[in-house]
Subunit: 348 residues, 2 copies
């Protein structure tokens, strides 16, 4: 058991504050990690505020974790002290179901263990996340951080990066294809970089003409303003794939006609009820809507290698631990390009 | 030009009545068909009543057509007088777009020509359908009716049959897979027969316990009552594919959790706005929703051969032309097992 400084939400109404929290002892399969950086995901805010009604306080958010190995258990073979490592959105799964057998732990049929907020045998009865100096994670859920990636800017790859990468890979995105990325935030800016690096013609689809210049800088070949009906009509039947990163409930229908026959729009942001679905464009063009959740451990490691090979990291604003409540306020106003990352050296 | 007895809707408020209607002369690529039987599809009723606001009267419905060749044009090579033939939902497409090149005329990017109600060079300026003694169709859109299929019972294969067959084939249904057919009507009863014949474990999903016995008779291995929450929960993550044949706007969300990871629910009935879509089960299991529209000409021929090989036809009620308005009334109450077919010999 270790007692390390963390930043925890104590109730739905109190802000995040430093807390000395006990970590579990390092078991034979465990890797103890000194955390250098942790990205801030919109999920963290939802959980800190108990938006989904399932938060158990105190809770330490954070699932975009980058650090270095401090110690390893007796049976750990793949990691050694000093090694640069990372941890993403989950730290356990059943290991026996068909999804786990297929390296898709994120779809574990018996329920994965989230990096924070999941019931566990850890002190306090729940996993606690990366807004902390330290975390202890079973070796099967620890990623190796490739050389050449800036550690702070790599942190958001563990959620925003893999959430975009996994569907692009699953639907076979590559040269000769046209991909639309809907929404330019943490996920969308990664989607543009990744689809572009995979060789697809990449189109930023946004309601905000003011985002066009940045989208082009990030790698988009074109920008499509979704409120421009003529422009939307001109792009009908042009897209093989749409990565929909809009984080709030919205109307999917306007986008469906952009897809080619057999094209797919994949939802990675707006979880929950959305607008009534009009099946007309789906039936008339055998178009698909799907969802996708982060990625498996093997795929996340592949994503990190891909990013290292292509020089891809997140655009970030590095903040001190004391600025986190301000960061949450700004994130609610979409005022971040494109991800806040906490410098954990600032947590004392 | 031929003038033949047809059954036409004359306005939104008058019932269908006999009408002598001019057919186009038999051009060099044309096949003139004496119609023996024509199935009654729910679409016919929508168009006769102008439910979609696009009907131009007088209009002769009917796109489940079976008959015999009377005459062929000079350049027709694949058909000869006396041959048993069939015509489905469309009689023309551009022939040049990517969909047509891929034998998916139903997704023609330049607009297909429907069997009835589409603008055309035919007398009256619109195509007219199969509630008629005769039809003239270009040879590329005429199907050969295989030996061994009862002609009257085969008529509904041309719409209800192919609408179920095409998605089952597209999504690769076969042995080892579990398919749910949602809704037991004209489409659903074909879906059960076809999925069963393709070797899948086939489950009828319905709100009506009273339909269970018939579903099992048609080939379902099991029946799942969708209003039984415990039964639905027990079948979560069990289905590779769901064929949703419900013909009216409804809530898709209850069905999504039945799908395995990467499973697809394909909508073939409810075209237009439906209930708000909850993306949670889609994101948490990479589940898909898609639409599908009838099938291409080559695929429709393949479906007819498949049905002949497996002894599959529609369950029908054969009616006289004079009973068509009554049939429409009964169809609106779902009082048909499972498709009305007009015996065209009764039209004088």
């Amino acid at each position: 058991m270790l007692t390390t400084p963390s930043i925890a939400a104590h109730s739905a109404t109190t802000p995040l504050a430093p807390l000395a929290i006990a970590r579990r002892a390092v078991g034979p399969q465990d890797v103890q990690i000194d955390i250098d950086y942790c990205g801030i995901c919109h999920t963290d805010l939802h959980v800190a505020k108990n938006d989904w009604g399932r938060s158990v306080y105190p809770i330490v958010p954070g699932h975009e974790i980058v650090g270095r190995v401090r110690a390893v258990g007796a049976q750990v073979t793949r990691f050694a002290p000093g090694q640069a490592v990372a941890v993403g959105c989950f730290v356990g799964s059943c290991g026996t179901c068909s999804s786990c057998a297929d390296h898709m732990e994120q779809y574990c049929l018996n329920g994965y263990t989230l990096t924070y907020g999941s019931p566990s045998a850890d002190p306090g009865g729940y996993t606690q996340g990366g807004y902390s100096k330290c975390i202890v994670v079973g070796q099967d859920f620890v990623l190796s951080l490739p050389d050449g990636l800036d550690a702070a800017s790599a942190a958001p790859l563990l959620c925003a990066g893999i959430t975009s990468y996994s569907p692009l890979r699953h639907w076979g995105i590559g040269p000769g294809m046209t991909v639309g990325v809907i929404g330019l935030g943490g996920l969308g800016h990664m989607g543009i970089k990744l689809a572009h690096a995979m060789g697809a013609k990449t189109v930023m689809i946004t309601t905000s003409p003011g985002k066009a210049a940045d989208a082009l800088r990030l790698g988009a070949n074109e920008v499509l303003i979704s409120t421009d009906e003529q422009a939307m009509l001109a792009m009908a039947n042009q897209f093989d794939f749409l990565l929909n990163t809009i984080p709030v409930s919205h109307d999917f229908n306007a986008y469906m006609s952009l897809l080619k026959v057999d094209g797919t729009m994949c939802i990675v942001g707006a979880i929950g009820p959305n607008a009534p679905l009009n099946t007309r464009p789906m039936i008339l063009g055998r178009r698909n809507i799907a969802g996708s959740l982060v990625g498996g451990i093997q795929e996340t490691q592949e994503m990190l290698e891909f990013c290292a090979a292509h020089g891809i990291v997140s655009d970030i604003e590095l903040i001190k631990a004391t600025d986190i409540n301000l960061a949450y306020e700004r994130m609610q106003k979409n005022d971040v390009k494109y991800r806040f990352v906490i410098d954990m050296a600032s947590l004392v």
